[in-house]
Each structure stands twice: as C-alpha cells, then as structure tokens.
C-alpha cells in the first residue's frame, strides 16, 4: 500500500468513528426499532472495519517507518570501504608472508574502489563488489592454507595407510 493513502485512511477512520458514535448515541436515547437494529449491525461492521483499518495502519507504519529506520541504520553502517577493514583484521591471523600478500591485495582493492568512485557508482554497489572480492580472497587463503596442511600431512598419511 502506498504511503499517500494514509490521509485517505485517517479520513475514513474519523468518518467511521463519527457514524458509529452517532448510531450508538441514538441507540441509547431512542427506542429500538427495525432501522435501529439495521444501524446497530452496520455499526458493528464499521467497528470491525475500523479494527481492520487500524491494524493495516499499524502494519503500514511498521513497514514504512521501520524500513526508513533500517535504511538509516544501514546507511550509517554501510561504508564503501567497510569490507577492506575486515580484510585488514583478517591479515593479523595469517603468517607474515601471507600478510604481505594481503597488503598488496588491499592496495589493489583500494585502487578498484577509487576507480568505482570515479565512475560514480553508488556506495551500496561498491560495498557489494568489495564484499564479494574480500569473501573470495579470504576463501582463497583458507583453501591455500588447508592445501598446505594436507600436503604436509600427506607423507604421514601414506606411511600410516601402508602400515
């Protein structure tokens, strides 16, 4: 539902409540008649409709204001070069030789970031591209490390499998 329909909703809500209150007051001060029973049923329908409308209104608020809040938070959290900080943190868990590799990777990614900024790419786009590269870089170093461990263990495994 569009945001512009809020005014329509609040108008409808006020109208429903006004009609409902009138019918209720008439019921209190007038004798019940056939038209009154019809009006009473209509009133309950209006009440139900109002509850539904209020629920929609609340959901709408959650949807629009909640989304605005999340977007605001995201824009504060989303720094274009954010993923590079992750890579900079990750490098401390690695041996010195690999750290030097990662320094060069970070420098290259920073250069890519500059290029994307010159191309007027959005912050989210840059963030997504860098995240993708950082994720793949970290995976590559994990795989490389695991490969190294397996290669070192291979002679032992061969020896034990023979025995």
């Amino acid at each position: 539902m569009k945001r512009g329909s809020r005014i329509q909703k609040s108008l409808f809500l006020s109208l429903s409540l006004a009609i409902g209150t009138t019918v209720l007051l008439l019921g209190l001060f007038e004798r019940p008649s056939s038209w009154f029973i019809t009006a009473k049923n209509a009133f309950f329908m209006v009440i139900m409709f109002t509850i539904g409308n209020l629920t929609m209104f609340a959901l709408d608020w959650v949807r629009w204001d909640g989304m605005a809040f999340l977007k605001n938070c995201a824009s504060r959290v989303l720094k274009a070069g954010g993923p590079l900080h992750l890579l900079k943190a990750f490098r401390w868990f690695l041996p010195r030789t690999v750290r030097e590799d990662l320094d060069i990777v970070i420098a290259d990614l920073e250069e890519d970031m500059k290029e994307m900024k010159q191309q007027k790419r959005s912050r989210r786009f840059i963030f997504a591209v860098l995240s993708w590269h950082v994720l793949r870089t970290i995976t590559a170093y994990f795989v490389d490390g695991a490969r190294g461990v397996l290669l070192k263990l291979a002679p032992f495994l061969r020896y034990f499998s023979k025995g």
């Binding site: 590799d101 060069i104 290259d108 990614l109 890519d112 793949r136 970290i138 590559a140």
Partner: protein, 97 residues
C-alpha cells in the same frame, strides 16, 4: 618443474612476455577467460608459480602503495610451449626441467 593447475596455467597464458602488475593481470585474465579472478586466488596462484620457478616477482612502491609485478621467468618461457603442447594433448603431466 611441477605441472600447474588450470587456474595457474590460464594465468601463465595471460601473463605474456612483458612484466605486468597483479591488478593488470587480473583484468587481462578477465578479458581473456571471460570470468573474473579474485586477488586472493591470483596472488596465491602466482606464489605457487614463483615457488615452481615459472615466474619472477618484483615489488615496487608506487604512489604510496606497493605493487607486485610478475614476469615469466627464463625457465618458464622455455617450458611454456612444452606445457601448452602437453596440456592440449593430455591435460596433465610433469614438465622435465
């Protein structure tokens, strides 16, 4: 010399005769292969190729950042045609030094 993996082989083919930086190599690889390569994969593969004696590596400082340049080594240039022939025939094997 050890037989390089598929990625390493593609990188060797993309390397060419001239010295090239890692970033430029990644771009050339993307152009030639049609798929991109992460810097992590590139640098780990190039490290293995260096250990295997296929490439020579040089590091330089450029505008407040370090750049790593790669070049096909003399032995690598000598064995690359054999490797290409071997790869096209079998797809695996050991290149004798």
């Amino acid at each position: 010399m050890k037989m390089p993996s598929n990625t390493e082989y593609n990188l060797l083919c993309a390397l060419g005769a001239r010295e090239i930086s890692g970033r430029a190599l990644a771009k050339r690889y993307e152009q030639e292969q049609g798929t991109d390569i992460s810097y992590g994969t590139l640098y780990t593969a190039m490290r293995r190729l260096k250990e295997g004696g296929w490439v020579d590596v040089r590091e330089a400082d450029e505008e407040d950042r370090r750049v790593r340049y790669f070049k096909l080594s003399a032995a690598g240039a000598r064995h690359l045609p054999d490797l290409i022939k071997l790869k096209s025939t079998f797809g695996f094997g050991e290149v004798t030094a």
